[in-house]
Symmetry: C2
Subunit: 236 residues, 2 copies
């Protein structure tokens, strides 16, 4: 079995992918399922996402660079989302996650993972994998992010205990980084995105995104719906 | 002033680049200058490199995956090279460095750096830079390497002391990794390339590549010679 860590989405993924976008895409995703959403939709096109949400009466969750977004019912804030009781399905207008899903959608299984659902996503990946578990960091606009890399290292260290694995240096780096951040929240605080959230006084979002194994929800890609050649991803 | 760390060559570099290929391209390069070579040539094409070396009576230094290479006078082993007294210029058939030079050759200044010439390459970069110092890891075939990243972090931490800099997360990651490897030799030992060198019993190459600030030589790109549309890089 191979265990791979990609600091950015690249290459092809034959088997299981755990996609990581700690601040805050893949932290919010399991929170939304736990809040009661049966289905969670993402799309790399904002226009298509809005259209689809309105046609299907979906709740819209999203913001851009920490600021409210027209037409959204809730901001992409884990602090707010985890207090919700939802009866509706959700279109989640995450900023970087949908594009990353597009880059890994060829995998047999695509799971969304973070610190928040760490234990559950690891268990699911171990159940499903026959060949490879690839932990893929979303990054931002083609730049690696500190919080995703540390989270990938955190997950990799736990997966490594269960498997005999071959490692490339990116996995070694991510795993060693966890040693440099024994308190993972410190990595989130120091990261570029973390600094931006602090400027917006979203301290609680950082704190919640640093919590480990708070839920058993593991959003898993179930269907790719094409609308005007643009994919809409259904997770549940 | 910007301080940038790229875990792989990418994007464009307007000002100063420190190219890092610890095992062993940019460790050997300053060693060869210190051994007496006035000029050091590299080319991404093995064929062109051999032709040019033979036409210009250059010494040839090189190997592939740690194995001797036809026509080479010396292997790419710092342990061996640092005992030489050279009277000739050198064609250095490094495995990954020339391709990386190609990716950064647009920069105003291209320096080759490693632990071995750390103090000198930092000093040179600080003298030359007006806008940006980019520490660019060579990696291997598009994969990040542990030893290059730790070295980039090591250099970045020292440069940061002299400058007020903006950082991206890749720089933060590399700098934090140095905390995880207080003995840098451990990073080289654990890296994929390091493990390959250990299989070949080239332990001393790892030890020498871990030594810090052993020389004042800083190979700097002086000229790009085109031969059949293929670049040959002259460093001195």
């Amino acid at each position: 079995m191979r265990l791979k860590v990609d600091l950015l989405p690249r290459g092809s993924y034959p088997d299981v992918v755990i996609l990581v976008d700690v601040l805050r895409g893949t932290t919010n995703a399991p929170i939304l399922l736990e809040a009661g959403a049966q289905h969670l939709y993402l799309s790399p096109s904002l226009k298509i996402a809005r259209q689809f949400a309105s046609e299907n009466q979906l709740l819209m969750v999203g913001e851009r660079d920490g600021m409210p977004m027209e037409g959204c019912n809730h901001p992409a804030s884990p602090a707010e989302l985890r207090n919700l009781k939802l009866q509706q399905d959700v279109m989640y207008l995450a900023q970087y996650t949908p594009q990353a899903v597009r880059q890994v959608q060829g995998a047999k299984h695509v799971l969304l993972g973070s610190f928040y659902n760490a234990r559950a996503v690891i268990q699911k990946a171990l159940q499903l994998a026959t060949e490879e578990i690839a932990i893929v960091c979303t990054g931002q606009d083609g730049n690696e992010t500190l919080e995703d890399t540390v989270c990938a290292g955190f997950l990799a260290r736990r997966i490594e205990k269960h498997l005999e694995v071959q490692l490339l240096d990116a996995a070694r780096m991510a795993m060693a980084l966890v040693r440099a951040f024994p308190d993972v929240q410190e990595a989130l605080v120091q990261s570029s995105t973390g600094q931006q959230l602090q400027k917006l006084r979203l301290y609680e979002d950082i704190a919640i995104s640093s919590l480990i194994s708070q839920t058993d929800e593991v959003p898993m890609l179930q269907e790719v719906i094409l609308k005007e050649d643009t994919p809409i991803y259904r997770f549940e």
